[in-house]
Amino acid sequence: MMHRLALLRPHPVLMAILTGLVFGALLLLLSGQNPLRAYAEMVRGALAPRNWNNTLVWAVPMIGMTLVAALPLRGGMVNLGGDGQLVIGGFVAAMAAIYLPLPGPLLAAVAILSAMLAAGLYAALAALGQTVLGIPMLISSLLLSYPAIGLTSWAAGFPLRDTATGLAQTLPVPEAARLPMLFGPVSTGVVLMALVAAVVVWADRRSVPGYELRMRGLNARFARYGGVPTARQTVTVMFLSGALAGLTGAIIVLGTHYRFINGALVSPGYTWSGLMAALLAGGEPLMAIAAGFFFAALQTGGFAMQREIQVPRVLSMVLQAIIILFVSLRNGRGAARKEDRS
């Protein structure tokens, strides 16, 4: 009955977006700006052919971190440690690319894989904290972020610093390990991420592990009853989630910055935006990717808006937040998740 009602409701997400835009317009009016002009700049800044590349560059890590959050969420788990996993991925990718004596494309591949492995293992630590020690994953994943950020930032600032610059950053990654450019600032990272996203969507719908994870998200007890090894699943899913974060970090390092720069992976807030996109979609990967893309466009548009008419781009943050809030109020989602949290 409840479900039927939910299906009948007219596009709750669309309504939420509209409400967010209305609120944003009020804020703009409050500060003496023309909302239509601001929104027009935003749309142009995100979607005009000239700016399309920018959105794409932003969307790649954004979607990466969305999947990082969506994967566990699909099974009713929450990974709050995306930041830590992201920096570990980025750092390991940089280290491997700089210090491993491997030729060309192999170097990039090894760098990416080792980033995924390291970040995945780190995330699995939080999962083991839950399955072995009973520390809620919500908290252990969050806490584990801090030492990861601290350690990598120290390493980039001291022992492994590029002394040619005054910054806390590592040496540049050799040319050979860099992801080839496709067009403009868009690297082959886009292709990589698109492939990974497609695999996640497919696995969610068609694979047995995807089925098991979905059922667990709907009712963890039911999944256990049906023979799904939920403890092992927790560890596996967190490993994969972390590995995706590692991939994201590697793509940023090997495709955009060409070195590990202290703070550069965390400061854009991909992790939190991604978590929100995933929550917005209730963990459903395709919807989450769409939401992630939407947020990427919103944020890129926000930057352009600030550039063109000096409207603070934090406005796009406010828009995002309001959309999230309205979607969550309208859907009353998350009933399935309460199971795991207790």
């Binding site: 005054g166 910054l167 600032p185 060409y258 070195r259 400061s267 854009p268 000096q310």
Partner: protein, 309 residues
Amino acid sequence: KTLIFLSASPVSVNDFLQLGANGAEKVAKETGMDYKIYESSDPTVKLQNLEAAAEEADIVVAITYEYDEILPAVAAKHPDVQFLAVDSCPAESGANVHCAVFREYEANFLAGAEAALTSETGQVGAIGALDIPFIHRYTDAFLAGAKYAVPDIRTAPSLWIGGNNPFADPAKGQQRGTIMASGGTDRILAAASGSNGGIYRALGDFPGAAAFGVDINQCPQAPGLVMDNVEKMTDVAVENGVRGILSGDQPKVVTLGLAEGGMTLTSLKPGITDSGCLFEEHPDVIEKVAAIRDKVISGEVVVADPMAQ
């Protein structure tokens, strides 16, 4: 013609960015150019903004080291646009890239000397936002200057703000300031940008203690608590740079220190009266500091660049 000022973070976050923006605006007005600011807050957007600026402007001013990586490539793609990198210089770059960089350590050295000469407890220290090489140009040079002026001065180990928000966590600044002052340090260099305010508040509880501000004259912000400021004249650097580019005689790299007037202490600026700073009570000390400055300028005293170590 169009001048675009590029900042890697919102200009009002940091006083020397604001100063640079002021300089850019001033010189644009003087020379009749259109003027725009592009602010970013993130490495990816920084690149987008740089490219958008290169498309649109005739002269692009990019401030801080954060553009070192990306400037050369973008400049190469836009050979008719002139670029001025302020505060840092890309390693290899084309002819259309000019640099104006600072020797911050020189002025910090003087501030340290002034601190040592005015200290009552005989102990000085420095608080930086982050433990990164660039900020050691402030903290280490400050301590070196103190040792130079008063060889038996005690120096407290430097403290760092750190955390999630090192450049804007005044509460942590307050805590660090209190801890350092409680340890008997009464002259403290506050090299932590937005967290500085907290350091000043902390010193309010310790009669006789004073801080050294950075980038601009911060004395009015905390009356009676700031001795002097290490000023970084980014406005001068921008104005002169842009003029030089327009007239076509701007050298590839300009370094600005005490000699060029690019770095100074508030107390050493000519015609300062209403600074609100504590140094005004120590004219004798300022005289000594001015003497040290002259020695630095003449090369008699060589200040080491902590970043070069």
